[in-house]
């Protein structure tokens, strides 16, 4: 009883502490000076039809590089902890497979659905990160859709072995290329991760907005391969 009272009091204190913050939120107080600059000059400066993308990839490009780094660290941790005993346990699973214990196969419905949906999902993921500078979405979202396509494949066939060398290679090369593109911006344009070393092109076209599509393609491949790696390391046949 006493413990519960203390918890309630603590919650009330936190609520009281943040009360002024909640009161100060006002919906339409106008843009700040920095946001106004982004909105007014963003399209002219970078040529990306999706303003969110020009903020994420260019104006705040360093943050995105940091996020990619966080994801990379998480993937490394997961595969280091769970992937190490993978080959051994796989052998064991394969042996027990021969014994014929109650292993559940993916159902017919799931297998057919996955085979049907996999190419569409891969295509949709590629579309999302290829059109990141034109429509909502981008490297992260497209990468996650790619990973979910592989996840569906793994669901439908439990014994499926992904090509780990390919996954690792795609992840490493795209990560290094992302930094290389950033450095190109530093040498040829205004600064690190500045996408303007390529021509801006025609506004609203696929080949426009400088190096932004290239950066988003690289991020998409990196995120997709990393998340596929995480899911692959975590799954177990049951």
């Amino acid at each position: 009883m006493m413990k519960r009272l203390i918890i309630i009091l603590a919650l009330a204190a936190i609520a009281l502490g943040f009360f002024p913050l909640a009161m100060r939120i006002s919906g339409d107080s106008g843009l700040t000076a920095l946001a106004t600059h982004y909105v007014e000059a963003g399209a002219d400066e970078l040529g990306a039809a999706n303003l969110v993308t020009s903020v994420v990839v260019s104006y705040r490009g360093l943050d995105t590089l940091g996020e990619v780094m966080v994801l990379f660290t998480a993937t490394t941790g997961v595969t280091a902890l769970l992937g190490a005993g993978k080959s051994k346990s796989h052998k064991k699973e394969k042996e027990s497979e021969r014994d014929g214990d109650g292993r559940r196969e993916g159902s017919e419905l799931l297998a057919t659905g996955a085979a049907f949906l996999f190419p569409i999902l891969v295509l949709f993921g590629i579309y999302i990160f290829l059109n990141g500078h034109l429509t909502p979405g981008g490297g992260f979202q497209g990468g996650v859709v790619l990973a979910s396509a592989f996840l569906l494949l793994l669901f439908s066939d439990c014994r499926l072995e992904l090509n780990h060398a390919l996954l690792k290679g795609a992840e490493a090369i795209s990560g290094a290329a992302y930094v290389a593109v950033g450095l190109l911006g530093l040498w040829l344009a205004g600064g690190f991760l500045d996408p303007r070393f390529l021509p801006a092109g025609e506004f609203g076209q696929l080949f426009s907005a400088g190096a932004i599509p290239i950066i988003y393609i690289l991020i998409g491949i990196k995120v997709g391969s990393e998340l596929t790696g995480i899911v692959d390391a975590m799954r177990r046949c049951s």
Binding site: N50, Q141, V144, V231, M234
Partner: protein, 102 residues
Amino acid sequence: MSQLMLVLFGLLMLVGAVAALYLKDTVSAILAAGSVSLVASLVYLLLGAPDVAMTEAAIGSALTTVVFLFSWARIQHRPQPSKNPQSEESDSNPDDQEDHQL
């Protein structure tokens, strides 16, 4: 109208979150937690942030839920290296059948 829907979605998120806390069955709790993210992505869409909505729907409600379910399956089926007879016993546990339904 949009305000009303926002309030409705907010209440749905609250219901999902509380359900995730209080549900006894872990799989149901994981699914409830995933539904919070799903409704949150709708809220982002209503508030005019489709980029964030896509991320929230894909990562928050799909991938995180799957990772949780995988970890739960791993916890249920933890291999017991030293005692072989016991692991055979645990295979016929009623707990395991629930996991097979995953």
